[in-house]
């Protein structure tokens, strides 16, 4: 009885944690993407419109990140206590970037002089880029592995500064920008819509290239990752992934080419994110801190995991439903004014 609980609780929690992280990536992904797209979109009205598409929901999106931290702390304290010191600098820079961009969100609407407008716009854009880049670096560093002895991080402060991790950072910036562009394409009309459609072609192409490179690079990092692609039961799991990537990529570009298609590119991009995410998950499984700590070794005792699970079962559906309600209230196309009609 307890044997099975000891086995299954961490598995359930790993899936729940993965779901929360994925939700975060999707939700905050497009609003970080909007910040990244400020690089390209300089028009003041357009920028306001872009930010307005997420103004009512961005606090909620960011909350998934807080939840991820808190759940990791409660359910996998060993992972929490080793990953965070190992990735100390990237994590703190990501948090600082999120702070700057979060307040810029509110401040840019309230600033009066062009100077301060420019300042908060820049920090919104810069903060979004740094946060996205650091998230990629964190992911890349985790996948490439962290030096652990006796549940204590023993590497150096700059272990994350590797070509693979930095490339992952770039990949996430591109991915989020695409997510943001396809979101705006769906939620806006007129000039901004057209601009986003054009830029999505470029970003979509770049994203496919980065997916291909990371997919080839990852199995070469560790023999265990390679094994997943060679051994039979795992192969059955991973083999459909590349096929599905091709299908979704086709859907993305077809959607982008068809002027009447507004939602499909966003959905296809979310699908691509899901595939990349599960592909990485399968590679890393069952480690939570590759290459040494598995989800079972990282777990808090069953008493803690059960206590939290009971509430989560009720609360997570509730949270999802009122989050959906909030999106529903603010549904529909946004426009900057009459000249778009």
């Amino acid at each position: 009885m307890t044997e099975t609980a000891d086995f299954w609780l961490p598995v359930v929690w790993a899936l729940l944690a993965a779901t929360a992280i994925f939700l975060y990536v999707c939700l905050d992904g497009f609003d970080l993407g909007i910040g990244i797209l400020f690089l390209k979109e300089k028009d003041h009205d357009h920028r306001n419109l872009m930010v307005n598409t997420v103004a009512p929901v961005w606090d909620g999106n960011e909350t998934w990140m807080i939840f991820g931290g808190a759940a990791l702390y409660g359910v996998f304290p060993v992972a929490y206590g080793t990953i965070l010191p190992a990735l100390y600098l990237p994590i703190l820079f990501m948090l600082l970037a999120l702070i700057l961009r979060g307040v810029s969100f509110e401040f840019r609407f309230k600033s009066e002089s062009p100077m301060s407008q420019f300042f908060w716009d820049s920090s919104f854009c810069g903060g979004s880029i740094v946060a996205a880049f650091m998230q990629g670096v964190i992911l890349g560093t985790l996948v490439q592995g962290i030096k652990i002895e006796n549940n204590v991080f023993v590497g150096s402060s700059f272990d994350w500064f590797t070509p693979f991790a930095l490339f992952c950072g770039l990949a996430v910036v591109i991915g989020y920008a695409l997510l943001g562009a396809t979101w705006l394409l769906w939620r806006c009309e007129g000039e901004l819509h057209d601009a986003m459609r054009r830029i999505s072609f470029v970003l979509g192409g770049l994203m496919l290239v980065t997916i291909a490179l990371v997919s080839i690079w990852t199995p070469m990092l560790h023999t265990t990752y390679m094994q997943h692609w060679l051994d039979m039961p795992q192969l059955a799991l991973v083999a459909p992934v590349p096929v599905a990537v091709v299908v979704l990529a086709a859907a993305l570009f077809l959607g982008l080419r068809n002027p009447r298609s507004h939602l499909l590119p966003f959905i296809a991009t979310l699908g691509l994110f899901f595939l990349c995410f599960s592909g990485l998950g399968i590679n890393v499984w069952p480690y939570i801190v590759p290459p040494t700590i598995t989800i079972w070794q990282a777990s808090s005792p069953p008493e803690s995991q059960t206590f939290l699970l009971v509430g989560t079962m009720f609360l997570l559906p509730l949270i999802l439903s009122y989050t959906a309600y909030s999106y529903y209230v603010f549904r529909g196309k946004m426009s900057a004014g009459h000249h778009y009609h």
Binding site: A55, D59, E62, Y73, K110, P301, S304
Partner: protein, 479 residues
């Protein structure tokens, strides 16, 4: 020596970020409750001044809440970055509580915030009021979980220590959550949050009352209304807060006597102890210098009897003592500010009785001067309770020195500088925007955040179809 400095910086960084953070949740807790009251009163009485004030303070709420979210984000990861040894050991107990906080409260706040901020014309009055209440309830639930975790670190219960790993394992969640100092702390902190906002509101109202007087006109109905509401809060809540503080002191004396000894600057345990009003505790020589003391008062305050026994720092081993010079002053500043608030409240009652509440510039000036008093008292209170827990993270069980992460000094120094720079920018930006908002007098037909900036209002315009919107509710969409 090297390790000590990293420990010091880890502590300094945590104190800096958490001190910065706590201001905003406290502001949000008080302000969300105030907004719910304003909207409720508007719906009940139909008096439009309530709606105007609601919209006025809603603009402030969006800024304050956003700053709370992003600075809170830092906290949920900083336990791991700075205190990884502590996280691994106490994670099984504190982690689930924090996760519950996010699930029961944070999502509730953030989920309904959008509707509360921009939805008045979209969802109808009843649903909108429900959203406002959800946000307010969310802030209160959030506070409960956080204070429960903090209280567990002060007065741990319901755990056992695993011998193999040294981890704290949960035995009885009820005892963990409702640990002995939790009920006192939550009352004290909740009231503090309300007082913080009451004095901010009073300060803003006071400034506009003074300005109107200087310009030889009467201040708007909205300004007088909010001044009156704030003064009721000061008159009623400040004295209750003094009582709440007193009971928390008694609770601390029972469970953390060393903290009491340190904050009182008492070295010898004695009956009929005097209360030291001023002095400079000297940790090295185990004495408090330049004492000005009132006989018997110490025993009277702490034990409610003249010959009650009060602990002294010498009762505790040197390595278990908290740093008294800091506690001594943070505690006294907090108490002094609390007393000032009570006086302001009483004075306002007298002037109200005389019918001169709006015609006494001195009170308005004092209110303006005291607007940050709530926050200062709050920060001093937290310094007192947190520094008073030292040298432990989990009181009596786990030392701060054993809790720290294996991070290198250069890393933490780099990030510390980055934190100071970013927080400085953010704080200055936030203050500037808040002051600019406060500088505008709340007036009839006040615009909320959605209508306030044309860009933002235009953004939430729907093209497909317009849901029924209350034509009575404010300025309507900018179409």
């Amino acid at each position: 020596m090297f390790g000590l400095s990293a420990l010091f910086l880890a502590r300094f960084q945590f104190a800096f970020t958490v001190g910065f953070h706590i201001v905003f949740p406290a502001f949000s807790i008080g302000l969300a409750a105030y907004l719910a009251v304003l909207e409720g009163l508007w719906l009940k009485t139909g008096r439009s001044a309530y709606l105007d004030l609601f919209k006025y303070w809603l603009k402030v709420f969006s800024v304050v809440f956003g700053m709370g979210v992003v600075s809170g984000l830092v906290m949920s990861y900083e336990f791991g970055t700075n205190w990884s040894a502590f996280s691994q050991k106490a994670g099984p107990i504190l982690g689930p509580m924090l996760a519950y906080e996010v699930m029961t409260a944070f999502f509730l706040e953030a989920g309904f915030l959008g509707v509360m901020m921009f939805g008045l014309n979209r969802v109808g009055k009843g649903l909108h009021f429900a959203a406002t209440c959800m946000v307010s309830i969310g802030t209160l639930i959030s506070m409960s979980w956080i204070l429960s975790s903090n209280s567990w670190m002060q007065t741990p219960r319901g755990y056992r220590i695993d011998e193999a790993t040294g981890r704290f394992l949960p035995v009885d969640w009820w005892q963990i959550v409702f640990n002995p100092s939790f009920p006192y702390r939550i009352v004290h902190m909740g009231l503090a949050a309300f007082l913080c906002v009451a004095f901010i509101v009073a300060g803003v109202a006071g400034w506009h009352l003074l300005k109107a007087r200087r310009e030889g006109r009467q201040a708007s109905e909205q300004v007088r209304l909010m001044f009156s509401m704030a003064m009721w809060m000061a008159a009623i809540v400040s004295p209750i807060q003094v009582l709440a503080g007193d009971t928390q002191g008694l609770n601390t004396l029972e469970y953390q006597p060393a903290k009491i000894a340190a904050l009182e600057g008492d070295w010898e345990s004695e009956s009929r102890a005097p209360e030291i009003l001023f002095g400079i505790p000297d940790m090295e020589n185990e004495t408090t210098r330049y004492k000005i003391a009132i006989p018997y008062l110490g025993s009277l305050i702490l034990t409610h009897s003249l010959d009650g026994k009060v602990p002294g720092l010498k009762d505790f081993p040197k390595e278990d003592r908290a740093y008294s010079p800091l506690l001594f002053f943070s505690f006294r500043i907090m108490v002094a500010l609390g007393m000032l608030m009570v006086l302001v409240g009483l004075w306002s009652l007298y002037l109200r009785w005389k019918g001169k509440l709006y015609d006494t510039p001195l009170l308005h000036r004092v209110a303006l001067f005291m607007s940050p008093a709530g926050f200062l008292a709050l920060l001093c209170g937290w310094v007192t309770t947190e520094v008073g827990r030292q040298p432990f993270t989990v009181y009596g069980l786990m030392r701060t020195a054993d809790s720290v992460s294996p991070i290198a000094l250069p890393s933490i120094a780099t990030s510390m500088i980055a934190f100071i720079v970013v927080y400085f920018i953010v704080f200055m930006g936030g203050i500037t925007i808040l002051l600019r908002t406060f500088a505008e007098e709340p007036h009839p037909g006040e615009h909320g955040p959605a209508e306030d900036q044309p860009q933002r209002a235009a953004g939430t315009t729907q093209v497909s179809h317009q849901p029924p919107s209350g034509p009575t509710a404010g300025a309507g969409m900018a179409e």
